[in-house]
């Protein structure tokens, strides 16, 4: 034991003499662990939130019985099933509006609620009475309490005029949901004696067949392994994970080069240790222990950094998820112990992977330094050929995936394979470029410039690969974001047809507002909209009512349309479908669909397909008058106005004053647009931040590689100095070489980045969000990125080069005096 400690101390002494190397190693490990763990923390947080939402009072985690047309059904069926021995618990659900905001109202029956219903909130023993007995309770998430600007015990009024039971905060609940006793919910929703679904608990006996009790009035829905939210948000998390992985590998690149260099430098030390009697097994064990100790320390720091990153990114992530999918994620980070363990684990595993080659070398270390003056060119060539072959194999996989894959994972796999292949191929490509340069070089110095760059290649290649990946991802992601941004704004301009939007608290108020507006001379048109919810092929679908107005015909953007599409819409037997819905169900213009409506099913011809960016729900657009005929319950509280621009502020003030409406209920187009764009921008803030992190890590990789190379390059540079090149000249040459190689890499990253962008837009986006964007290239952006890459390389190269320029002649002489 003491012996091992002594050897460990000796090994560690190396780092004391080479603190920069140690810093490199630690920075690599920290960066790898931090970004990976940060992303994991965010994903975990989100998954917990989905689970919470899914499990809540028997979401999709519990099998249930519903009416085939998704309508409500009589409570008698519940009693009949119970009396037939079915372990069922009734739920009624609907939406209520409070101060113009819509909430999901869930009525549950706590006594029969199956105990195995996920992580449903547990009511305390004494709470049952409080929850069930009048006045009852409204259980809400603390976030919702804040949204309502209410305190516990308050009883807010809903749009029908009724009051909710007193509010009671329940931390386990998801936001925007109000949970009340079933009887209360039925009354508030006007669904007396009606139920939305029955949750099925664990069987207590052997109930008879369903059909013998309820006929075909109810059908069983098995629990989904994956929730709708999880499916929708998969892409987003995959995206984050991909970034996390990328950073992790870039970090490992750094670790690999640092460990590799340290090992090379410590070879004589290892030999001496062996010569002094340290056994091979002991030495290898101690080497591994040393690495694990370092990984442990770096892992801890990395975890703290990861926590900070996650906490910093979480609000944006939450905003993105809410904007994109309507998923509610708490903005407060809460982490489980597993996360910390996994983070430390990944740090250690990463360090061991990164150090694997060095460790294997140490195990096989010959005791005597055998003279092996194998030409470096020979070794390098073999390595390049091998890596090139691997790259080709990876490219082949990418092609196969592109051709036969049809999932989001496959899309990401194509991306990963493309980038890995390109990274593997990079050294070979650079070698070819440098070789061509060498062949064309005139003059001895130029020849040396190219030849020496080639020799440096093996040392720099990992860093350059990291740079290539980071740049390509950067190009890809920024191209996608920019494309999306432009498409989105154009789309938004067409979509926001009205000049002023009013959201009335209830129907009666809306009627009053309309009649008041009719008297105003500046109002050129009053456009009524409406929204209802129904189902199409078992999936929830939002119905959007569009007014029949010339403005809509002119400006509302359609991706595809049948002839006279808008005219077809008016009688109420045609609909437009959102792009997401058309992709999900394979609907085309000219198809016919049938949706359940209160009065019987509604048959609709598809007359057009429209883009509906950022909407988590599948949507159908129909004529608003037809919508209200078919769905009489549709709240008619949304009003759009056409008003001359100059009159907008005056009208808004007048409406607000007249009907005591707040800013959220009355807004002009510019405000709505600004809000939409703000949400949009937040959506990609995370991507941008991770992008920057990755580029930063790649920069560190480059810097550390150059720093470590700088030492080993003295023997190469000293002879040049000896034959009369000044140190500053040498430094300049060194800098030029680094920049040249970085420039080549950056230029190679551009086409790769565009391919990545294409993959994101044409494969990943379509699978993830259900929409496809037109592909644009933004040359200025690309130039900018190349400049940034060169700047990063310049900064990275500056330190070692400056050291070279200032180096004492004595140090250079040593190379000769102390021939290695």
């Amino acid at each position: 034991m003491r012996r091992a400690l002594w050897i460990l101390a000796v090994l560690l002494s190396h780092w004391r003499r080479h603190p920069m190397q140690l810093a490199t190693l630690l920075i690599g490990l920290i960066a790898a662990t931090a970004l990976w763990s940060g992303v994991q923390a965010i994903n975990q947080q989100a998954r917990n939130a989905y689970d919470r939402a899914a499990a809540m009072f028997g979401g999709v985690r519990t099998p249930m019985l519903v009416a085939p047309d998704a309508a409500t059904f009589s409570q008698d069926l519940f009693v009949a099933l119970s009396r037939a021995g079915w372990p069922v618990s009734p739920v009624v659900e609907g939406r209520v509006q409070i101060n113009g905001r819509s909430f999901r109202l869930l009525g549950i029956e706590p006594v029969t609620l199956p105990a195995e219903v996920g992580n449903a909130p547990r009511l305390g023993a004494s709470d049952l009475r409080a929850f069930v007995a009048p006045p009852g309770q409204t259980l809400v998430a603390p976030e919702t309490l804040a949204d309502l600007d209410a305190t516990e015990g308050a009883a807010p009024q809903i749009s029908s005029g009724a009051r909710l039971p007193p509010l009671h905060a329940q931390p386990q609940l998801v936001p925007d949901v109000l949970v009340v006793d079933i009887g209360v919910a039925q009354r508030l929703l006007g669904k007396q004696g009606q139920l939305s679904r029955l949750l099925i608990g664990k069987a207590k006996g052997k109930p008879g067949p369903l059909a013998s009790v309820v006929g075909d009035r109810l059908q069983r829905v098995e629990p989904g392994a994956e929730t709708e939210l999880e499916r929708l948000t998969d892409s987003f998390h995959l995206n984050l994970t991909a970034f996390g992985l990328l950073s992790f590998f870039v970090g490992l690149f750094i670790v690999n080069s640092a460990v590799g260099l340290a090992f090379e430098q410590r070879l004589p030390m290892l030999r001496t240790l062996r010569a002094c009697g340290a056994s091979a097994r002991m030495l290898n064990t101690v080497l591994v222990i040393e690495l694990v100790v370092l990984a442990l320390a770096a892992g801890l720091v990395g975890l703290v950094c990861g926590y900070v990153i996650a906490a910093a990114l979480l609000p944006d992530v939450a905003a993105s998820l809410r904007g994109l999918y309507g998923a509610q994620i708490p903005g407060q980070l809460s982490l489980r112990g597993e996360w910390w363990l996994a983070g430390i684990g990944i740090s250690i595993v990463g360090a061991l992977i990164a150090a694997a080659t060095s460790l294997v070398k140490a195990v096989r270390l010959p005791l005597l330094a055998t003279a092996q003056p194998q030409a470096w060119q020979q070794a390098q060539r073999r390595w390049l050929v091998l890596q090139g072959a691997a790259a080709l194999a990876v490219f082949a996989i990418a092609l196969l995936l592109l051709r036969y894959g049809d999932s989001l994972i496959a899309g990401f796999a194509v991306l990963a394979a493309l980038m890995l292949g390109a990274a593997l191929f990079l050294p070979a490509l650079l070698e070819i470029i440098l070789l061509v340069g060498q062949r064309r070089a005139k003059g001895p110095l130029a020849l040396w410039f190219w030849a020496d760059s080639r020799q440096q290649l093996s040392g720099l290649s990992l860093a350059l690969m990291a740079l290539l990946l980071a740049l390509a991802v950067n190009v890809g992601v920024s191209t996608m974001v920019e494309t999306f941004s432009r498409t989105f704004i154009t789309w938004l301009n067409g979509r926001l047809a009205a000049d002023v939007y009013i959201s009335a608290p209830d129907n009666a108020k809306a009627v009053a507002i309309r009649s008041w507006l009719r008297e105003r001379s500046e109002v050129q048109a009053i456009l009524s909209g409406g929204r209802a919810e129904t189902q199409l092929e078992g999936q929830p679908v939002e119905l959007l009512g569009l007014p029949d107005h010339a403005l809509y015909r002119e400006r509302w953007p359609l991706l595809e349309a049948a002839p006279r599409a808008w005219t077809q819409l008016v009688p109420g037997n045609a609909a437009f479908v959102s792009e997401q819905l058309s992709r999900r169900l394979g609907l085309r213009v000219g198809d016919v669909i049938e949706i359940p409506a209160p009065g019987g099913s509604w048959v609709l011809d598809i007359a057009g397909i429209y883009a509906d960016y950022g909407n988590p729900k599948a949507q159908l657009a129909v004529n608003v008058a037809a919508l209200i005929r078919r769905f009489p319950q549709t709240p008619q509280t949304r009003i759009g106005l056409i008003v001359p621009r100059d009159n907008i502020p005056g009208l808004i003030t007048a409406v607000q004053k007249q009907f005591a409406l707040d800013d959220r209920s009355v807004a002009d187009q510019a405000t709505v647009k600004a809000e939409s764009i703000r949400i949009f921008n937040r959506t990609f803030a995370v991507t941008g931040a991770l992008n920057a992190f990755t580029l930063g890590v790649a920069g560190i990789a480059l810097l550390t590689s150059l720093l470590t190379l700088a030492n080993s390059r003295l023997p190469q540079l000293a002879p040049l100095w000896a034959i009369g090149l000044t140190r500053s000249r040498l430094a300049a040459i060194e800098l030029t070489k680094t920049l040249a190689v970085a420039l080549f890499t950056a230029l190679l990253a551009l086409p790769l980045g565009l391919i990545v962008a294409w993959c994101l837009i044409a494969i990943v986006n379509v699978k993830a969000f259900g929409w496809r964007l037109p592909f644009h290239v933004f040359p200025l952006q690309l130039v900018e990125l190349v400049a940034v890459a060169l700047l990063a390389s310049l900064l990275a190269a500056l330190l070692p080069v400056a050291r070279l320029a200032r180096m004492q002649p004595a140090d250079l002489v040593k190379v000769f005096a102390n021939e290695r």
Binding site: A84, G85, E109, T112, A125, G205
Partner: protein
């Protein structure tokens, strides 16, 4: 669900609860059937409690329990629908020498998932039910059919009787403490039971005797009382004996009994005349329970020793207790049921 179990447990244990707003139990009530077979929602708690001592075709003894409890969360006029303040709980169990199975159900009143009708008599929770027919005699509360099912057992019995129900205590007024706690209490101890019992999908025909207790109250126990030991005994002579002992915190207990002659006449037995002595203990569910008893009523030259059919007859329900069939011998012999609560 955990909350309802605990709420029930508190209610049925009745510890520390006051009877605010609920109807008081006072002596002198005149019972009226079939009305009193039905629920008394003005009182806090109530039960329909049936135990049966049976044998199968090969003579092997077994027992079964069917219980429906009612508890009101609030006093006052009964509200309609889900707003109704009654909570219902069902317990069912079967006991053989080698196994004891039980299950429980919960339901809210007001919507028909659970309840009791007086005429024609029906008590049910989910698919468990105790049901009369047109031919059911109101005074005898017979004939009835009984069924309950669970994942690993189920049973169906018909219950016949040829004698009226028996009022316990003082004409149905059963005093539970010196401080006035009391309940209304009557029984039908003369049921003859026949039917089938299924355990692990194996059906056996069974027959034997059954005993139903009907009891309602607003405050059954004094806060000082920690639980009770209760027995219902079918003597082979045809006599029936109900005995219980209310345990107090100070260690005193308060035994009470009722001797029911084969013709249905009942005679109260008072504390001074009853000796109930635990003789054997079993370790069940982490508790030490007196499952064997020596019981003596000197005035009637009655001295017996009771042994359980299965000492592990623990009802591990939300409100947990021991309830199982017993047999006894001594000056008299026969079978019965023992209930131990508050351990």
């Amino acid at each position: 669900m955990a909350l309802s179990r605990r709420a029930f447990a508190q209610g049925y244990a009745g510890l520390g609860e006051t009877a605010d707003g609920f109807a008081p139990v006072t002596p002198g009530k005149v019972f009226s059937f079939p009305a009193d077979h039905g629920p008394h929602p003005d009182f806090r708690i109530e039960w329909w409690y049936l135990t049966a001592n049976l044998v199968d075709a090969r003579g092997a003894a077994c027992g079964l329990q069917w219980t429906l409890f009612r508890q009101a969360t609030e006093a006052g006029p009964q509200r309609e629908g889900w707003a109704n303040q009654q909570l219902w709980m069902g317990h069912a169990a079967v006991t053989r020498a080698d196994t004891h199975r039980f299950n429980e159900l919960f339901a809210r009143g007001g919507v028909g998932q659970a309840g009791v009708d007086a005429k024609p008599f029906a008590a049910w929770i989910d698919d468990w039910e105790m049901k009369g027919a047109d031919s059911t005699d109101d005074r005898m509360l017979a004939p009835l059919t009984l069924k309950a099912s669970s994942t690993d057992f189920n049973y169906a019995l018909t219950l016949q009787a040829d004698r009226p129900v028996v009022l316990q205590g003082d004409a149905g007024f059963s005093r539970k403490s010196e401080r006035g706690q009391a309940s209304y209490y009557y029984s039908q101890p003369f049921f003859r039971a026949r039917g089938s019992l299924v355990i692990d999908d194996k059906t056996v025909d069974v027959s034997g005797q059954a005993w139903m207790d009907r009891e309602w109250s607003s405050q059954p126990l004094d806060p000082d009382q920690t639980g009770w030991d209760w027995l219902s005994l079918h003597l082979s002579s045809g006599d029936k004996l109900m005995l219980y002992r209310l345990r107090q915190k100070d260690g005193k207990d308060d035994p009470f009994g009722n001797w029911i002659l084969p013709d249905g006449r009942a005679q109260q037995i008072f504390a001074a005349d009853i000796q109930m002595t635990p003789k054997g203990w079993a370790e069940v569910a982490g508790r030490k329970l007196p499952v064997e008893w020596q019981i003596a009523i000197p005035s009637r030259s009655f001295t017996i020793t009771c042994k359980p059919l299965n000492p592990a007859a623990w009802m591990g329900t939300g409100f947990s207790y021991w309830e199982g069939p017993i047999s006894f011998s001594g000056s008299h012999d026969g079978v019965g049921y023992l209930e131990l609560t508050g351990y």
